[in-house]
Symmetry: C2
């Protein structure tokens, strides 16, 4: 870890927030302890995770998104993080508005950055599975298993999702989801918006985390369930904001806002204290 000026950017995609570290020279020596300290919401900068901007080893792709969870562990692809990552590359002059390709732990993904801050990213396929049930309190909700790289259980329900208590984890069938599951509850709404084929309101409980303001793969899983095998676009309202998900033969494509709040330099004394 160099203790010279370490630059950072704070931002979010539909309120899934990140500390982004432009580490082009691969000098940050990002340790799990530093990730935890950065993500600490009182003693650090505060974030759901860290996105290190690193050089890719993939052919013809310049940047690798090195995504870490707030607990310091390595994280897979994250649609909300990738939107912020792509916006940063454009804003910092590393890429142009329009299409770009970014390497991730789940492979190379396409991204499209609009001049209005809307960013779309390739999410890969969203594969419909069989039916299952989520229990929340004394209620059982029928759902559909969906794989978007990670496992989801999508429960379309007439119960307004705003009325649900997600402070406790929904209980799913451990024989169907031995590694746990992300559970989405969603209402189909009547009013079409933004030219989409359908409009839903969704809340999500992420495995090992709890309720979150937004989940990119969750929005794709809900869209796959609503479209039920056909192609189309669904507007998904989450507590953290609206995204549009298009599913076609190329897979799922997630579009939504990405926001840079501020950028700065870590205090050298703070860094030294963390590094011990």
């Amino acid at each position: 870890m160099t203790h010279e000026a370490v630059r950072y950017v704070k931002g979010h995609g539909t309120q899934n927030d990140f500390v982004l570290l432009p580490d082009l020279a691969d000098e940050a020596g990002l340790t799990p302890g530093l990730v935890r300290a950065l993500c600490d919401r009182r003693a650090g900068l505060g974030a759901d995770g860290v996105l290190r901007v690193a050089v890719s080893a993939a052919d013809g792709v310049r940047w690798f998104m090195d995504h870490r969870n707030a607990d310091g562990s390595l994280a897979e692809m994250c649609g909300n993080g990738l939107r912020l990552f792509a916006l940063f590359l454009v804003r910092s002059g590393q890429a142009e508005y329009g299409e770009q390709r970014i390497d991730t732990r789940s492979g190379v993904r396409g991204a499209v950055v609009g001049t209005d801050g809307t960013v779309g990213v390739e999410m890969g396929p969203a594969l419909l599975g069989g039916g299952s049930v989520a229990r929340l309190g004394s209620q059982a909700y029928a759902g559909t298993a969906v794989s978007v790289g990670n496992p989801h259980l999508v429960c379309m329900t007439p119960t307004p999702v705003t009325d649900l208590d997600l402070t406790k984890a929904p209980i799913a069938d451990g024989t169907v989801f031995p590694g746990g599951v992300n559970v989405e509850f969603a209402n189909l709404l009547d009013d079409p918006v933004d030219g989409a084929d359908a409009h839903v309101r969704m809340r999500v409980h992420e495995r090992g985390v709890g309720e979150t303001a937004a989940c990119g793969t969750g929005a794709c899983a809900v869209t796959a369930t609503v479209l039920a095998g056909s192609e189309g676009t669904v507007a998904v309202d989450q507590p953290g904001g609206r995204v549009l998900v298009r599913i076609d033969r190329f897979g799922a494509f997630l579009s939504g806002p990405a926001v840079i709040v501020g950028s700065g330099v870590l205090d050298p004394g703070w860094l030294s204290a963390i590094a011990g």
Copy 2:
């Protein structure tokens, strides 16, 4: 609101965290909406409050701590915020290590900044009142009313404070505390530390907020209760860290760590969006 580069500092005092805005030219036009946006822990930078560094109108005092709560309202003096504020003045070359005086909404306060990042601040008198009771779940805890500018109820208890459930507010006597009260639960510990006359472990439930990692006036209230009218120093361990409180005929003096995590510039586009 100018949309030119607005600088900020993120830091904390015993994990009571703040966005500090060096607004020496009084240009920030700090609105309640901007305060709320800055303090938002996902869509903003995230903090318990904002400390605007403003010019003082008081005789012979250069700086005024304009403290706002996360909800945008004006806040009174805050010992944990004042420590960070004083450290910032030294680190930015606006003041020297050692003693300085800072204007606040509760009047001019002295601060002493050590080269190790420990900062002591004058907290004013901590006045012992009568006995009262706090109810937490099915238990009643005997306590002592203490005024440190704001009202406190200090409950010294043999029950380990680490075992208490403070997710719900303790219930105090509304006739004694018509405006609500901050409730501290504290254990007297056997092991002397840091040369103090006594050592306590404390947790606090702040009125209108919930449990917090640290409370400067709360630490002073606990110290006044432990010293019971005599002069002395108490080491107070809070979830956010240890502070030392000395009480003598000049009042209470709170010493503890202040930490600057990072400093930067707000994104002009983000600022424009907040300002509408």
